[in-house]
């Protein structure tokens, strides 16, 4: 161990990296806190996805992963420093391994501090959070850090200036994956590499750092053990190559572009290569090839000139640009050669004993049932045949669904594959699976992982009580009702209760609509909204006339009705009634305003039926003040709706309720002001109308103005 690693030199490098290590780590920690606060204070409720959680660490890894190795190995770029470090009694292996380890420890500290703070914030703030999945993200980040250290260290070992260090590091990190991506994009079926999950080395989702982001849509494999092992192994290969290059490196290389003519040629060739691929990859056309070819050549020459500081060397290197052209040509030709070849391994249904199936979602969530059904062993031969058929067909870029399947063969062996099914195949699979009792029962199971509930407008205690009631009520439903409720859980309206949760590394998300299929939960919900804001809502209904007479520069009064009732009453998913009055004031800014009548942006399409006139004044100095409007007479029918509501009383009758939400908004007190929501108030109540006649009349009025009502 002593021969390859020096503890004292490790401490020395660690000490030298204190400032950049601590500063970059500290910034990452602050960034993580900021992100956590933004997330917690945002209106969005849900478990942060692995991709979302990885953004901050990835940024840190890119920054620190380049900065720390280049600073730690910075002495390689100056002759006097290089001579000093090579004169001290340490072998080159000791210098390399001790430095690499010191960098890695600093990055581990940074990653663990930043991610630890993020997780701690989630814990303290009781934020919905999948800690196990985050653990996977952290492990991925540590491996990714190792990869980037490996690449940059290798770059530092074969080059001798900061410029060439950076260029070589970028080439090592991104060019191999970029070439695979380019070949795949050129392959019409798109199967060659991008969809070839069976070919480990070229699976783009297997390399967190060097994925060709943005070129193609793809998943990020944070939880795939093979992907982690691949990236780890790749990192080790880079580190070992770095060690080899470092051991062979001459001290006198410091200040020179690269260790040899060959290395310089390789770096120069690939530094400009991506530019040559732009028309192929992004534009997908050949017309701009000349422009990008010339640009690539300019960068090719500039790199040689800047790195070697020699015009003669640049002139000598020019003819070798042909290598770039030949490589680009290969990227065009090779995929065409393989186009149409099915590279997936076909499945033989007759050899399969059983299969386990797990859908893979491109989104943040999958269904709880899908997580649970992965454990169910399917022995249906029809399913095997479906997979056999799917594996024989050529993959294409049309819509498809991804499944991870574990095949158990009759000889006792197993294999895990990723299958792509078309929509038709996917639907056929679902119907086949539903024949399995365990599978169909699992589809109706209540999410049983770590659950977090959210209900808009409710306190934590109220939400908790609603959740407990919901769980009990759900258990009393029939299998069919449960499955139906879970299937309709993507409902986004209100009243509803949101459930997010996680099982292992998987997250799920449900939004249960609260209607009289869950009477106890709904009754409790209605009771809570009345407890919270019922009286206030009734007062706001009573104060409608006052609002119409206010002298504010602009006034709005929005009424939203939702409810359900017996007989012919309508269920209103969303219906707004807006009265808006805007006072005309002097223009304080410019002398000659121009008028742009009927600015449609200000008139919500949904409210166009109301008598509503407005125009906006624009001023020559580009600042405009929206404040003009001719007050419409208050629609008498509008007043009648309010009148009906003012006679209503608070109610929690789940069979006949109306949820009323009022947003009353007044701006200013006569003085010109641009503040918005200066006098804002909102309240919700569940009410019961005073009489059947009121129901009938309200129904009639709403039907007249409704735009989104449906018969209940």
């Amino acid at each position: 161990m002593k021969r390859v690693f020096s503890k004292s030199f490790f401490h020395e490098v660690f000490r030298q990296l204190t400032v950049p290590g601590a500063v970059s780590g500290g910034v990452f920690v602050l960034f993580s806190i900021l992100i956590a606060i933004i997330r917690i204070t945002s209106a969005e409720f849900g478990i942060p996805s692995a991709l979302e959680l990885s953004i901050a660490p990835i940024i840190y890894i890119y920054i620190a992963g380049f900065m720390l190795p280049i600073m730690a190995f910075g002495w390689l770029n100056k002759r006097s420093k290089s001579d000093f470090y090579h004169s001290i009694p340490l072998s080159r292996t000791q210098l390399y391994t001790s430095t690499v380890l010191a960098i890695f420890v600093w990055m581990c500290i940074g990653i663990l501090a930043g991610t630890g703070v993020r997780a701690l914030t989630a814990l303290v703030m009781n934020e919905p959070f999948n800690y196990l999945m985050y653990g996977c993200v952290i492990v991925n980040m540590l491996i990714a850090a190792l990869e980037i250290i490996g690449a940059v260290s290798l770059a530092c070992a074969v080059t001798g200036t900061w410029f060439s260090n950076m260029s070589a590091a970028l080439v090592i990190l991104f060019i191999p994956r970029l070439i695979f991506a380019a070949i795949s994009v050129m392959n019409e079926s798109g199967t060659l590499f991008l969809r070839s999950n069976q070919i480990l080395l070229v699976d783009p989702s297997y390399n967190l750092i060097a994925m060709p982001y943005g070129l193609v849509s793809m998943r990020v494999s944070f939880t795939n053990v093979w992907a982690m092992l691949y990236t780890f192994a790749y990192s080790i290969v880079l580190l070992l190559l770095g060690k080899l290059a470092f051991k062979r490196r001459k001290s006198e290389l410091a200040g020179n572009a690269s260790s040899s003519w060959l290395v310089q040629t390789v770096i120069r060739t690939f530094v400009c290569f991506p530019i040559l691929l732009i028309p192929i990859l992004l534009i997908r056309g050949f017309e701009p090839l000349l422009f990008f070819g010339v640009l690539s050549f300019v960068i090719y020459c500039m790199y040689e000139l800047i790195s070697t500081k020699s015009a003669t060397k640049m002139l000598k290197a020019m003819p070798l640009f042909i290598v770039d052209i030949v490589l680009a040509g290969l990227v065009l030709i090779v995929p065409k050669t393989y186009d149409g070849i099915n590279i997936r391994q076909p499945i033989d249904a007759s050899n399969i004993a059983s299969v386990r199936i797990k859908p893979i979602s491109d989104g943040d969530y999958i269904k709880y049932a899908d997580i649970k059904t992965y454990d169910i062993v399917i022995t249906d031969y029809d399913v095997f045949e479906l997979f056999e058929k799917a594996s024989e067909s050529k993959a294409n870029d049309n819509a498809f669904y991804d499944y991870e399947i574990e095949l158990s063969y009759k000889d006792g062996s197993k294999s895990v594959k990723q299958m792509e099914l078309t929509i038709e195949e996917s639907m056929q699979l679902e119907s086949l699976l539903m024949r399995n009792k365990s599978f169909s029962e699992a589809q109706a199971g209540y999410p049983g992982g770590r659950n977090y509930y959210h209900c808009k407008g409710m306190s934590a205690e109220q939400t908790n009580m609603l959740a407990r009631t919901l769980e009990k009520e759900f258990a009393e439903l029939s299998t069919k009702e449960r499955a139906s409720l879970l299937d309709g859980s993507w409902y986004t309206g209100e009243p509803s209760i949101t459930l997010v949760g996680c099982v292992g590394i998987d997250n799920y998300h449900y939004n249960f609509p609260l209607d009289n299929s869950l009477p106890k939960t709904l009754e409790m919900y209605l009771g809570f909204i009345n407890d919270n804001e019922g009286e206030k809502a009734l007062k706001l209904i009573d104060s409608f006339e006052d609002w119409t007479k206010r002298e504010d520069e602009s006034v709005s009064y929005t009424l939203e009705l939702k409810g359900e009732g017996e007989g012919s009453f309508v269920r209103i998913s969303s219906w707004d009634l807006i009265f808006k009055r805007v006072k005309v004031t002097e223009n304080p800014v410019a002398e000659t305003p121009y008028v742009d009548e009927g600015e449609s942006n200000y008139i919500d399409e949904q409210n166009r039926d109301w008598e509503y006139d407005e125009y906006n004044e624009y001023y020559s100095d580009t600042e405009y003040v929206y404040e003009a409007g001719i007050p419409a007479e208050v629609n008498p029918e509008y007043c009648e709706i309010i009148s009906i509501l003012s006679r209503a009383s608070l109610s929690t009758d789940v069979n006949n309720y109306l949820i009323v939400t009022i947003d009353a908004n007044g701006i200013g007190d006569g003085e010109l002001t641009r503040a918005y929501g200066a006098n804002y108030t909102r309240a919700t109540a569940s009410v019961k109308l005073a009489s059947d006649e009121d129901y009938a009349r309200l129904n009639e009025l709403i039907r007249k103005y409704e735009y989104d009502c449906e018969k209940f």
Partner: protein, 303 residues
């Protein structure tokens, strides 16, 4: 013992050392002198294991130095272009040295700090050129290395400090039987310091000898006779140079001075005087004898 055997080192198309060989005995102070590009610094970097020879071998006590940590622990090198960590103080640098040199002694470090009177807590970047070299000397000597290599040893030091560094080197050589290899552009400085001296030119050693031998092996004789004579009269002597002005001749001769004097006395000269030569003069004549033009090899700056 440092053995440099037929070493070649090339940087691109420039051959810094061309089949150079020399032996540096243990316990001596070995000086190297030569003009810029002669190969002094390259040879030092080969001895300290910074460079790997392209051909030949460099061995210290029979072991190759390159990537040999055991041997490098016994060698310390103060280069011509000094390096200190950015913003570092002497104390900070001492931590670095102590972390890598097993024999680094803080007692010696403190003692040397007292001798050179440098503030160990001041940033080295604020030091003058001479103070930086003193700092590097303190750190190097604190390593208690068996082989101490100084490139451009006295560069930037005032005469007082030169003497101080010199005496410190003497101490190490005397007390610990250390070996010092030093380079300089100045022959005069090396003359007072070294036991052995080598003159390098175009990547090879032109001339190498012990200082004492050099100083005693060549001498100038001023002699006159009351009869006509010419150089043939001295054919039995080992003469490097003979010039005659009037009846007085100046002879640069090699060999035992006393014996030469006795033999000349038997020739009844009217004037006989032995004048010691300076090291430069010795170098001029020795190199002339070897067929080199001294001014080409050492040029003005060396003198």
């Amino acid at each position: 013992m440092i053995t440099v055997n037929n070493v070649t080192k090339q940087f691109g198309s420039f051959k810094a050392l061309d089949s150079m060989s020399c032996k540096i005995p243990k316990g001596c102070i070995y000086g190297m002198v030569g003009s810029n590009g002669a190969g002094k610094s390259t040879l030092m970097r080969l001895i300290t294991g910074i460079y790997k020879p392209d051909g030949g071998s460099v061995e210290v006590e029979g072991e190759a130095v390159y990537d040999n940590t055991t041997m490098k622990n016994r060698i310390v090198f103060v280069p011509d272009e000094l390096y200190f960590l950015p913003g570092a103080t002497l104390n900070r640098m001492s931590k670095l040295y102590s972390s890598v040199y097993e024999r680094f002694s803080y007692d010696r470090y403190k003692e040397l700090l007292g001798v050179f009177k440098l503030n160990p807590n001041s940033a080295i970047s604020t030091f003058s050129k001479g103070m930086k070299r003193q700092a590097a000397t303190i750190l190097a000597l604190s390593c208690n290395a068996d082989y101490i290599l100084f490139d451009e040893t006295f560069d930037g030091l005032d005469p007082v400090m030169r003497n101080l560094v010199r005496s410190m080197l003497y101490n190490d050589v005397m007390e610990r039987n250390a070996t010092a290899v030093i380079t300089s552009h100045s022959l005069r400085e090396l003359e007072d310091t070294c036991d052995q001296l080598a003159l390098l030119h175009k990547g090879g050693i032109v001339f190498e000898n012990e200082i004492n031998d050099l100083k005693t092996s060549l001498y100038k004789i001023q002699v006159a006779f009351d009869k006509p004579y010419d150089r043939s009269m001295f054919n039995d002597f080992d003469i490097l140079s003979f010039t005659k002005q009037g009846s007085v001749s100046s002879i640069i001769a090699r060999g035992n001075a006393e014996e030469t004097t006795s033999r000349l006395k038997t020739m009844n000269p009217v004037l006989l005087e032995i004048v010691p030569l300076s090291l430069e003069e010795i170098f001029v004549f020795e190199m002339d004898a070897l067929g080199y033009e001294f001014s080409d090899v050492l040029k003005e700056e060396v003198l």
